[in-house]
């Protein structure tokens, strides 16, 4: 056993998975990532601001490296334009977003789950960005690894969405549960000549050729572009290229869809939770069952894109309670919209951790 936190676990997992460089700008409550990364990453760079951080990361990524950063909402807000650039250029990288209480600078040392809808729409046009949210320490290890794998396989930025309480709280943890991870390689895939930088095969992901390659000309482009990587406004080829960015993720979601379903036979009620509220939901479920009531629990770990499997599970229950640490239930709004109906309830809390007893109370309210 060691007494540790999820920042340390995720940092170690990212490096073992092959992440090359951490580029960061300090912001509470993501600072433990900054500190651990300074100690652990093969290369560490302190950027002068978050825009520079993500631009530098794009440069490293285009040169064939896997960069990582960690920030919170104010930093993410500054990174937004460049995140769109990385998405459009199809650059692999991982961003750890540690949620804290907003709006604005809010309360830097108070946790929250308030950035979900911002991330849902962060890519202009509503294109999906892969978002993983660990529900405990084991997830922190595994999903950090999956984030690197997904970033490379799908040529995309990936978000690890967590919260202050997950990455700063220490827990006794058996590190023998953490399996050693293999470095994710990024070889140039086979392609049908002639090479075109954004021409994809059946897997919808173009081969990644880094800048500086001795044989092939690499082109990266943030604007709407054709298969050659050249700006083209409104041509069928260039628009298809942008459609492909959505389709490569949505059509292959099964390859990176992670969830945990604790289904109880005969249960008609389902609690849905994610991230830091998952553990409170686990405790609430234990108590509810001890009292002789039937209940199932769905913990969603791949938050975006939304898998149709989520709808299937939710549809098989009569009542669904969404448990989240925000004002109105942001994940619930992503699934059902803002309008409540008789099937859907929310257990939410703003400015503090939602407790197991509050979840239990809302379920039977």
């Amino acid at each position: 056993m060691v007494l540790t936190d999820a920042s340390r676990i995720m940092t170690e997992a990212l490096v073992q998975s092959g992440a090359d460089v951490f580029i960061g700008y300090p912001i509470t409550p993501s600072n433990l990532f900054y500190a651990y990364s300074k100690e652990r990453f093969p290369e560490f760079l302190a950027g002068p601001d978050e825009i520079s951080v993500l631009q530098w990361m794009c440069g490293y990524s285009a040169a064939g490296k896997i960069p990582v950063t960690a920030t919170s909402f104010p930093g993410l807000a500054l990174m937004t334009e460049t995140l769109n650039m990385a998405y459009m250029m199809e650059l692999p990288m991982v961003l750890v977003i540690v949620q804290r209480l907003g709006p604005s600078t809010g309360s830097a040392t108070t946790g929250a789950q308030g950035d979900l809808k911002f991330l849902d729409g962060i890519i202009s046009g509503g294109l999906p960005l892969p978002i993983f949210s660990p529900s405990d320490f084991k997830d922190s290890w595994n999903l950090a690894n999956e984030a690197v794998k997904t970033a490379v396989e799908f040529r995309t930025p990936v978000i690890l969405l967590t919260s202050k309480e997950m990455v700063m709280t220490q827990k006794g943890f058996d590190i023998n549960l953490l399996k050693a991870l293999n470095r994710v390689n990024n070889p140039i895939k086979n392609f049908e000549p002639p090479y075109q930088p954004y021409k994809a095969g059946e897997d919808m992901v173009p081969p990644f050729v880094p800048l500086g390659n001795e044989e092939l000309q690499a082109r990266f482009n943030a604007s709407t572009h054709d298969n050659d990587g050249l700006i083209r406004k409104g041509t069928p080829e260039s628009l298809a290229n942008t459609w492909r960015l959505r389709e490569k993720l949505e059509k292959r979601i099964d390859e990176f869809f992670f969830y945990e379903l604790d289904a109880e036979n005969g249960a008609t009620n389902l609690i849905v939770s994610w991230g830091i509220t998952a553990d409170a939901s686990r405790d609430a479920v234990q108590t509810i069952r001890k009292k002789g009531n039937k209940i199932s629990l769905l913990i969603v770990k791949t938050i975006l894109p939304i898998s149709s499997k989520i709808y299937e599970i939710i549809d098989s229950y009569e009542k669904v309670l969404f448990a989240e640490e925000n004002m109105t239930g942001l994940y619930k709004e992503m699934i059902f919209g803002k309008r409540n109906n008789s099937k859907v309830k929310t257990a939410t809390k703003f400015g503090g951790m939602l407790t197991p007893s509050e979840i239990e109370k809302m379920l039977f309210n």
């Binding site: 060691v2 540790t4 170690e12 520079s52 631009q55 490293y60 490296k65 007893s357």
Partner: protein
């Protein structure tokens, strides 16, 4: 480096008639070819605006990014490549240099090996001829702009920030030669080229000279910023492995709140309590709360100890509250429930009558929290005090920590 292939594609120049950008592209190509660079040896980084139209003209590696951010993007490419045989060239306009000024200063300060060409046509061409931070006052008068503050001297700013080479070129016929000098200079080089915008500025190059600032050239002899890679070790290699070796007789989950002031060892006392719990075969969590200023005001920590795995790490009703200063007490006194065991320092003013102990007097300012934790362990017998003594074993502060733990025996 290969020299057989061409730097430019055969694409037609997309610029307005008379625009200076086309000459810049051709001169850049000639400079690179004369220096022996082949197309796969060069990464051309381009910006947004008319200067960004250069992207399809280059047969080199290319990356076409955002408005003003290309010096930062080029910075990342340079360090990411980490290859002295590759040359990174960034082209942006005066608008890009204005919005992304920080990136130019940072690349200069770190002196990374790349060359930035700033095509200064004194305005934002693509959006209708608005003034930029590099527009000169003469030109602003000509354009009837209200802003009469002096423009940024980007060449001198880069120099002051540490660029190896920075220069302004007003005569385009000298550009190729000077660009060659910039490319050859190790470290960060910046070449500002005065350029004509025939659509929104002057129509003739002969008129332009009335609206630009004088040429200047600077050098700095400084180390070149490079990528620093190192070997590192697994973060858990030096982790304190806690193998249970004591017993605990607790039956219920216990939540302990420890409250005091910044610098009073609250967080470390809580961490040691959690570690001692694990050494006693318990599951344990620990979390802290303090103002963002860290070094002043309250410091509060929560520890949960349980025979069962702990999921939720919040503390709804603390079983035990240990307060050693007024700061900490004021922060947590409202969380006390009727079932909470409360132990406070005798100097704390409390309206209720709680058990008081002289934690501060016995443990000292830095040891009071640990003294309180030790007192509670001794009194409650949750596990042997030896578990806590085991935790501090080998610490560089072992002596003072042991002394704080032992001080509890006097209470």
């Amino acid at each position: 480096m290969e020299t057989s292939d061409k730097i430019l594609t055969k694409a037609k120049m997309p610029f307005c008639p008379g625009c200076g950008h086309g000459v810049c592209v051709r001169s850049t190509s000639k400079s690179l070819e004369n220096l022996g660079y082949g197309s796969k040896d060069v990464v051309m980084v381009s910006d947004i605006g008319c200067s960004g139209l250069v992207d399809p003209l280059f047969a080199t590696h290319t990356i076409h990014g955002l408005h003003g951010r290309s010096p930062a993007l080029g910075f990342g490419v340079t360090l990411g490549l980490d290859n002295p045989n590759k040359k990174v060239i960034v082209i942006q306009g005066d608008g890009g240099a204005t919005i992304g000024l920080q990136h130019i200063l940072e690349a200069s300060r770190r002196n990374v090996d790349m060359t930035l060409i700033v095509l200064n046509n004194l305005l934002y061409g693509m959006t209708g001829g608005q003034m930029s931070g590099l527009s000169t006052n003469n030109f602003k008068q000509f354009k009837h702009s209200d802003d009469n503050a002096e423009p940024y001297d980007i060449v001198n700013l880069a120099h002051q920030a540490g660029a190896a080479f920075s220069v302004r070129v007003n005569d385009i016929s000298n550009f190729e030669k000077i660009l060659k000098e910039a490319i050859e200079k190790p470290g960060f080089s910046l070449v500002e080229l005065s350029s004509l915008c025939t659509s929104h500025g002057m129509k003739k190059i002969s008129e332009l000279k009335n609206y630009i600032v004088e040429e200047e050239k600077f050098t700095n002899n400084r180390p070149v910023g490079v990528s620093l890679r190192r070997n590192t070790a697994n973060l858990f290699n030096r982790a304190k492995i806690l193998t249970p070796q004591f017993n605990s007789n607790i039956s219920e989950t216990i939540g302990v709140v420890i409250a005091g002031s910044a610098g009073g060892g609250i967080q470390s006392a809580a961490k040691m309590l959690a570690q001692a719990g694990i050494l006693s075969g318990l599951y344990a969590t620990m979390k802290g709360e303090y103002p963002i200023t860290v070094g002043t005001g309250f410091s509060v920590a929560e520890v949960i100890l349980s025979k069962k795995p702990i999921h939720f790490t919040g503390l709804e009703n603390p079983s035990v509250v240990l307060a050693v200063t007024e700061d900490g007490w004021n922060k947590i006194k409202n969380r006390i429930s009727s079932t909470s065991k409360v132990l406070i320092d005798s100097k704390i003013n409390s309206e209720e009558s709680y058990t008081t102990k002289e934690f501060l007097k016995e443990g000292g300012k830095k040891g009071a929290a640990l003294s309180a934790v030790s007192y509670w362990i001794n009194e409650s017998k949750v596990f042997p005090i030896e578990a806590l003594l085991k935790v501090v074993e080998g610490s560089k502060y072992e002596e003072s920590l042991r002394s704080a733990i032992k001080s509890a025996e006097n209470l």
